[in-house]
Amino acid sequence: MYQLKVWGAFKDYQKNRYRDYLFAPGGLRVTGSTWSVLSPLKGLGEDVYILGGEPHSASAAGTLPEEGRLDLAAAESAGLGFHSCSYLKLFVGEIVRDRIAITDGTNKEGYVRPDLVWTTHLCTQHSKWYQEVSRRLGGVPMYAIDMIGGGNAEKDAKIVKYVSDQLDEGIRWLERVTGREFSDERFARAARNEIKVLVLWGNICALNMHAPAPLDERRLIALFPPAMVDRTTDECVRLYESLLAEVKQMVAANESVVPEQRFRVVYFGLAHTYGHPETSRILRDAGAEIVASIYTFGTTGNFKGFTGKTWSWQPIDPAWVDGLDLSTRRKTIEALAKIVLGWPTWQGVRSYWAIEEMAKAMVAEYKADGLLLAPTRSCETDFRNGYIAMQRIFRDSIPTAEYDTDQVDVRKMDLPGSKRKTELFVQLMEARQRRGQG
């Protein structure tokens, strides 16, 4: 079975960013959504340590599930909504319990207070999450950028201007609230890295169009956190360049981490319900491997995207990033605004037609045999209604199954139901294959 050479470096990079936030002496600690534009923070200096809300909650709960469960209960006992975002409750739960856990198993007493919150506002829960954090920690300064989103947003001049103006305002706010001088040179360097990582990830995902697909969803979702945690460093760029090189070699040698790929499955969902032991056994036994997933690709990845209203998951040439003119602060800001507004996730959340086109393109370009959908219970966005509409679009063309699950709150997952539906999903793919050959 093929073992990825870069795997250890990826895990260390992620772990070290979290350890920096917890233990690095001095410096500036910032929390917020990692769906924000991160490079403005690096204009303040190299000693800026980022704790991204979603990846931290997800990975901490994944590493220490029992602590995660207690965090959820603590947040709910502290009054947070029972149907509020599970990641939000995990994050605030740690504040209520005054402790913090990270991916290397550290379970530290005493919460590490951020100096400021730099975040975004995609779903209507995002900035409310950090308003709650700021309030509970006695009023941490906070700046939230309204990303608007929507299909072709990066091509809409008024939206690019709106987001860029907020970034401009935000940088002046960062200088005021930290008392630090903002270096445009450091900002441009961090921005080019940030954009390069996003484009590289797109390239890596696109290689999975190959048959056999070199990587599967389980590896992909483990390889994209460094891009979530801090994609602004030279080290992060090198990481993804080395991964791209290795995956290209795998494709050339027809290598794969999951060689037995009888069925190519496309997965739409924030929740990794496919990874639950019973469900994954059924998929593995049937040779059904997840080769593409909108959340894993679209959270920190950029692609060719829309030409008119047709989407393509083909990658962008990394060399294009080197040619970007980032000579002034405004040019850097607008390049960042366009790249982030181009993310599939931003575009899909606010335009149902965008998520449908992305789905059709993914099924076609990845030559999918089946579509697994996982609308998650306590995530306001997650295109849940998009997934439900997709049942109608794909029901007659390829087998689809829809899990009833949650991103991390096991209490709200219908695991027995997911198992039954996975068995049926495999039966339907096998029946279709027989009809195909029959």
Binding site: H121, G139, Y162, V349
Partner: protein, 390 residues
Amino acid sequence: MPPKTARAIIEYFRGVTEDPHAYARSLQQKGQRVAGYMCTHVPEEVLYAAGIVPVRIITAHTPQAISRSYIHETYCSFSHDCAYQGLEHKYDYLDLVVTASSCIHMSEAFNVWVRFAGFQTKSYLIPYPHIMQTKPARGFMVESFAEFKQFIESFAGRAITDADLEAAIGVYNRNRRLLKQLWDLLKLERPPISGPDLATVTLAAQVMDKAECNRLLEQLVHKLAGKQGRAPAGVRVMATGGACDHTGVLDLIERLSYPATLVFVDSCTAARYFWFEVPEGRPDKLDAIAEGYLSRIPCPAKDVVPGTGEKERFRFVQQFIEEYRPDAVVCLYQRFCSPQPMDVVALKPILEKLGIPSTDLELDTTIPLAQFGTQLEALLEITQRMAPGG
């Protein structure tokens, strides 16, 4: 026969809320074009300036599981109810449906109308800021309104002049002033109109042609002038929170076994709809409309003061507490809503500091009236410090 007495006018408004379809069709029979809107951030003046009457889509409170195979289980009942009415073709007569990008749940209700209920070619989504308090929000709104105006001009087949916009702004500001004037009556010792009746009038105003509505409101103000209502009995209650078009819930507050008076409702189905004005006489009409809509009481889904993360709405809530002097507060939130419960948990400590008891009502398509009655009566017992043994 136009209603004569104040009570007749109020009942006419109630009739409009009970059957908004009949009213909207009566407009169409008079050759009026009617556009439905799902969120109060839609700049109605732009539609009205083109001779199109905006009517708010309000819910029918009938539970329908059909919407569950289009909208996920854990979306609020307001979005399910709006979606359901589209799927059941209750609003097919509308010439157009418009919404402004606001919370995700309501966007999905709009999407269901466009994808599955036949509104593909007669719908428009206005890109709108999701945070009201940033400096760039205004410029973005003006550009977005300009595009909306162009769409409406081509849809209506006529130009929208500055004069049209100014006239529309005038009619809408008149409506807002009249509603504010009526709600000010609740500050009086013996208000001539009750809170629940006024909440029903305000909800009706959102589904009516504003010119006609203004005429009725003017008559109502005239008939109520100088009148003394019964002394506001018992506990003064203020409601605050999310959209609540359940007139039954607000009526319940004054039909308990202890006397209570509903003195104010901070919700987008009530005060948040009219508690602002669009500056008049400005050269740039769309900029004036943007300025007006930015000065509104922020919706819980759009309320983040840059730099501090403060919730600006709570400043308004405390202002209403000073002006309307409630003894108790009822927090309304939609079950499954994301933003509203986050406001409730942040508002509680403020109310406790002010010494004002409160309870939360979890709104849904169907509501347990006996349970709500018990919660509200317990709130009144606590506010009156009712103790065993007298």
